[in-house]
Symmetry: C2
Subunit: 121 residues, 2 copies
DNA sequence: CTGTTAATTCATCATATGCTTATATGTTCA
DNA sequence: TGAACATATAAGCATATGATGAATTAACAG
């Protein structure tokens, strides 16, 4: 017979107390979970993914990206701001031109892991 | 002097034609980009992340997860549906109880890569 | 069959998101 | 200075999303 859980609101439960403790111990704190969700949210939009794909190859100015993706400059600027806030891209200014580039080596790895998942299914 | 790009709408561009070609060649097709965005969108919510964290430890029934996360069962069921559609979780039915578990070995890797990113900054 | 429990589905609401247009800021150069 | 250009920002709109409560389906026990 299974040991009953301490989750009172659930009478069908068969999970053990040790599993409950383990989950509670390994679950990141609220702030980390929030940041993690924010990070993945950023990857959850095709426009931003396209921008990252472009920046995988080279740094680019805003209008280069806009032209390459065939989107207007405002929309790109808007999304670059999101990417900047999540520290996925960085920028340098040269006169009136702002060049954006990747700010993290893990980006491509996260991206590639995602690709592996969808390609397998 | 830099070779000028073929992106006409942009007069400040300094990126080379070969970069443009490379981006266009390596950029996944629209459908893949869409699926990829959908996948990451799923990770972009703390409730779903918590569910995945719970399932990292053990398979669980819906009410176990609900009790563990202190949320109502309808909300959990709703999110499990999303996770099921993206094939991140699978389920088996035993009588009236439905047990959910992870359906992909990459999930934890994607999750951990995300953690590395936010921990470093 | 009836009542109970587990899970799902539906309708609704509040909030968040992404894009557009218009405007503002900032830089260069004639 | 002021015109042209690059970028950023603001306001507004349509759509998407997540949670809730109520209703529904399904399995089982008496």
């Amino acid at each position: 017979m299974e040991t009953r859980t301490n989750i009172e609101s659930c009478s069908c439960s068969v999970i053990h107390e040790e599993v409950i403790s383990k989950v509670r111990d390994t679950m990141p704190d609220e702030e980390t979970l929030y940041d993690l969700a924010e990070l993945f949210k950023v990857f959850g939009d095709t426009t931003r993914i396209k921008i990252l794909c472009a920046l995988f190859e080279s740094e680019m100015c805003v209008c280069d990206i806009a032209a390459l993706l065939d989107m207007n400059q405002s929309a790109i600027s808007h999304q670059l701001r999101v990417l900047k806030q999540t520290r996925l891209v960085k920028h340098r200014k040269d006169g009136k031109v702002v060049y954006y580039s990747l700010d993290d080596e893990h980006i491509k790895q996260i991206f590639d892991q995602g690709l592996v998942h969808i390609k397998e299914k």
